[in-house]
């Protein structure tokens, strides 16, 4: 079965720096890979989706890369702010399914 690995240790960075989070997966290559943000006591919120034939996707200060050879996605937040502090979840979908498989998330802490 498909497994997703995200760093369970929190990432602690200084405001203004670039945060880079990693999502590794096993087995099949997903058709779509997504990133969600989750704040304490709230549900996840969709951020970005990248397709298997796309190398990179950007949205404002966010950038996602997708390397199907390495079976890895990187999620970057440039010019990070304390308000970016949250847990970030990676999720995969197969082409024929609308069901998602989620990673356990990485907590990001941005120090002022």
């Amino acid at each position: 079965s498909q497994k997703i690995e995200q760093n369970s240790e929190a990432l602690n960075i200084q405001e203004g720096k670039t945060a880079t989070l990693t999502c590794n997966y096993t087995n099949y290559s997903p058709a779509y890979l997504q990133w969600y943000r989750q704040d304490p006591g709230r549900g996840p919120v969709f951020l970005l989706l990248i397709r298997e034939n796309e190398k990179e996707k950007r949205k404002e200060r966010l950038k996602v890369t997708f390397d199907t050879t390495l079976k890895q996605s990187l999620f970057h937040i440039t010019a990070s702010q304390p308000a970016d502090s949250a847990t970030y979840l990676c999720a995969l979908a197969r082409d024929s399914s609308y069901k998602l498989i989620f990673g356990s998330g990485t907590r990001l802490l941005v120090r002022p």
């Binding site: 058709a31 709230r42 549900g43 969709f46 989706l49 609308y98």
Partner: protein
């Protein structure tokens, strides 16, 4: 939270009692999902629905049942709650229009924190 209401938001119950969690959406989306979230496990799919009265099992469906009699409501029932079902439960929805990508993007409710003593 994208027109999704989960109720109750918090519940404490005793082992062996039945529990029903409700998810109500105002978006008229076709697909609805129930997840549980536990430390170290991330979000795990319990059951999902692809239309009224059309449901299927997810990864961790044992001990849970669901029903969807209307587009807007998706109920999750724990027939006889156990301590292992203590968790945070999230409902999510996704659109059927707009192709495969739209189906994949999910919108979540605020969650229900359930404690089974």
């Amino acid at each position: 939270d994208a027109g999704i209401t989960q109720s109750p938001r918090h519940k404490v119950t005793e082992t062996g009692t039945p529990v029903t969690l409700r998810c109500h959406q105002t978006e008229n989306h076709r697909y609805m999902y129930w997840y549980r979230q536990d430390p170290g496990h991330g979000l795990r799919l319990i059951h999902y629905s692809y239309g009224v009265k059309d449901t299927d099992k997810g990864e961790v469906s044992d001990g849970y049942s669901v029903s969807r009699s209307k587009t807007e409501d998706f109920l999750l029932t724990l027939e006889s709650a156990t301590s292992s079902q203590t968790s945070v439960y999230f409902c999510a929805i996704s659109e059927s229009k707009g192709g495969q990508i739209a189906k994949n993007i999910q919108y979540f409710g605020a969650g229900t924190r359930l404690s089974v003593l």
